[in-house]
């Protein structure tokens, strides 16, 4: 176990550092540390608007979501490697060539992800808060406890995704039922008792009031989820050759009004047949948004009546823009190099596919507006969500070209992305909170978004496409 674990750790490091450069990637935890350290000095001001407990809860939820997203990303590691480096493989797939069982390798993989991302994300964040404690007056013991409970929250997200993925491989129906039942339970609980259920999140409870019993309970839940993931784990069957009907031609015909319909049709088929479309829609879109809605509503009493749904619409837009990473997941420029296709054409087609997929966030936000009793704000909310998504996709295309999911760890790229999106988020938060109808002005974001797409096409056409 230690040997495989250590090699997987090295492999993960080498994969990231090869992609982003050793120095750039090594700086990433320092950036998280810096953000956390400086953010800690804002806490006294934030406390005037948001109770300490709610802030702590929101931070725990953030790490729960982060764990879930890291888990989802990890499960697609091999696709990522193949996409970036051509024919490549990870140790996680070595059961095919080494005398090691799939379950053993999967257990190592889960532990590796936990430890690796703890050092990459959780520790720098907690360390920043701890380092600021002498200046902000936060008790040192509380800061240490926060680091520990955030790690538990992160692991909870990670284990949830691994458990669901293990169930998904065995039965998509059971996994779907679990997710729908979980979402329904959260919704019913929220509608009947407000955010009470969230307060029962074990890592948060442990932080709010440390007790050995709660510590044991938190660890026991995580251990049970981990064990269940391993027990239920079943590697994909290989050697089966299913026959598929022709989806491509009908799709191209239906999309003839689109400029790049041959490429868009391929993207849609990739998403559908790989299962990544459903997986991403669940793990990278619906689940994080349900959780975010749940916890954002904690701040509801501090916002005007329309504030919650409009803020949520903006967040949904930002998360909706990550669909650009879904459609760039499968192929580098390589497979297109033998065809008369330029990088700019590919970027244009990926943005088009991403725009088509916006029906998902738009529907999601519309349903949320109706269910939460904000039907009157439905149009401004949908406008905000879709405009934000298009704008953020444009920024992402400009900064990352066809490799958004690998360039996210490049400090410079991430920082620039946060500045571009953060500034617009701040402006439209203020505008939307002032009056719900003002939110409709967010459609203006289509213009800079379009300019970013055009700039992306020019910028990435000028780069040698091999290796993109």
């Amino acid at each position: 176990m230690p040997e495989l674990f250590m090699r997987m750790m090295k492999e993960e490091w080498r994969m990231h550092s090869t992609i982003f450069g050793h120095v750039s990637f090594a700086l990433f935890p320092f950036m998280i540390f810096g953000i956390s350290f400086m953010g800690s000095f804002l806490l006294p001001h934030l406390r005037q608007a948001l109770p300490v407990g709610d802030m702590a809860l929101a931070t725990h939820v953030m790490f729960l979501v982060l764990g879930a997203m890291v888990g989802g990303f990890g499960l697609m590691g091999n696709e990522m490697m193949n996409r970036r480096f051509g024919q490549a493989s990870l140790l996680a797939y070595s059961a095919r060539s080494l005398p090691l069982s799939g379950k053993f390798i999967f257990a190592n993989f889960v532990v590796k992800d936990t430890v690796y991302y703890f050092f990459l994300w959780v520790l720098p964040f907690g360390a920043g808060y701890i380092a600021a404690a002498p200046f902000t007056g936060a008790p040192f013991s509380s800061a240490l406890l926060l680091l520990f409970t955030l790690a538990l929250a992160f692991m909870a997200g990670l284990c949830t995704v691994f458990l669901l993925s293990s169930v998904y491989v065995r039965s998509r129906a059971v996994c779907g039922v679990m997710v729908i039942a979980g979402g329904f339970l959260l919704l019913v609980s929220f509608l009947s008792t407000g955010p009470t259920l969230a307060l029962l999140f074990p890592p948060y409870m442990l932080y709010s009031g440390f007790s050995w019993g709660m510590l044991l309970l938190s660890c026991a839940i995580l251990a049970a989820m981990f064990a269940l993931s391993i027990l239920l784990f079943s590697p994909d069957e290989t050697g089966t050759t299913r026959v598929h009907g022709d989806l491509y031609r009908p799709l191209v015909k239906r999309g003839t009004f689109l400029q790049q319909s041959p490429l868009v049709a391929k993207d849609l088929i990739d998403l559908y047949r790989s299962g990544i479309g459903i997986g991403q829609a669940l793990f990278s879109f619906a689940i994080p948004l349900v959780v975010i809605w749940f916890f954002l509503s904690l701040a509801g009493s501090f916002l005007p009546p329309h504030g919650l749904i409009l803020l949520f619409a903006m967040i949904s837009g930002v998360i909706g823009s990550t669909m650009y990473t879904w459609v760039t997941e499968f192929d580098s420029f390589g497979p297109y190099a033998c065809l008369p296709v330029s990088v700019s054409t590919l970027i244009q087609s990926k943005i088009t596919t991403c725009a088509l997929l916006q029906v998902l966030p738009a529907s999601f936000i519309a349903i949320t507006a109706v269910l939460s009793g904000n039907s009157a704000d439905l149009i401004p909310a949908v406008a905000l969500c879709v405009s934000f998504s298009f704008y953020a996709s444009g920024v992402m295309a400009y900064l990352c070209g066809l490799s958004p999911s690998v360039l996210v760890y490049d400090v410079k790229v991430l920082f620039t992305y946060l500045v571009f999106d953060g500034a617009v988020f701040a402006i439209f938060s203020a505008v939307s909170l002032a009056h719900p109808l003002y939110a409709i002005s967010s459609v203006l974001l289509f213009f800079p978004g379009w300019l970013f797409v055009k700039a992306a096409m020019r910028r990435w056409d000028a780069v040698d496409p091999a290796g993109l």
Binding site: R242, R273, A337, P340, A466
Partner: protein, 241 residues
């Protein structure tokens, strides 16, 4: 015979590595030109530069009268390419992939042409199987079909026989020989010397990015020299240079 491909002083440098070092050569229309060289000699880089996939560091390359540095897209419209390592997209079936190629290349009768290729290369039973589930040999058949399906004036093919069984190799070699007889040109990159000797009309030897030799295969035959012996002595000498 007119020249369809002209390379002058072509160089490509990746960091500290010189993949191509001032290479000059030309290929005549209707010839089956073999670019030979050991692994890592720069053959694949040469095809990438010629088809505008990467830009040269120095020199120039004209392909079908088009400048590869600035008109790569137009070159790729007019030529057929088999890349060395690329596989067809994982989640399209074989038929869907050829339809995709047809849609991108705007080939109107693509299904009919695809069916002809499925029959010719004997993999019609795989037309509805996802590319990720195909064997290496079948993927190679598919890549071969996509390169020739629009009957290009020039095909640049990188190790096209490498995953084929002997029967399929024979079939493909015959196809290539017939293709050039129809006046079209093939630029073949390979390190399988027997194949080059059997089907190429002219060849060039590349080693560590430098061109060691260029000329007709018939010249060797006249001197009673085998291509493999000539190649090995050339590369060994070049290697010590």
């Amino acid at each position: 015979m007119s020249v369809v491909l002209e390379v002058s002083g072509l160089s490509k440098v990746y960091g500290d590595v010189t993949a191509l070092d001032r290479v000059s050569l030309s290929v005549e229309e209707g010839s089956l030109f073999g670019l030979l060289g050991p692994n890592g000699s720069g053959k694949t880089t040469m095809i990438k530069v010629l088809t505008g996939q990467i830009r040269p560091t120095g020199g120039s390359a004209m392909v079908l009268g088009l400048d590869s540095e600035h008109e790569g897209l137009r070159i790729r419209e007019r030529v057929g390419i088999i890349p060395e390592q690329e596989s067809p997209p994982s989640f399209l079936t074989s038929m869907e992939y050829l339809e995709f190629v047809g849609a991108v290349r705007k080939i109107p009768d693509i299904r009919e042409r695809a069916d002809e290729w499925f029959d010719y290369l004997e993999f019609g039973d795989k037309k509805n199987v996802l590319c990720k589930d195909l064997s290496r040999g079948t993927r190679q058949k598919l890549m071969f079909a996509q390169a020739f399906i629009h009957e290009p004036a020039l095909a640049l093919i990188d190790e096209p026989l490498i995953n084929f069984d002997p029967i399929m190799q024979d079939l493909v070699k015959d196809y290539l020989k017939d293709y050039v007889k129809s006046g079209k040109t093939i630029f073949l990159s390979t390190h399988i010397l027997e194949v080059a000797e059997e089907i190429c009309s002219s060849f060039a030897v590349l080693h560590r990015g430098r061109l060691l030799h260029s000329g007709p295969v018939a010249d060797l035959a006249e001197k009673g020299v085998h291509l493999s012996g000539f190649f090995l002595s050339l590369v060994r000498k070049g290697g010590h240079a």
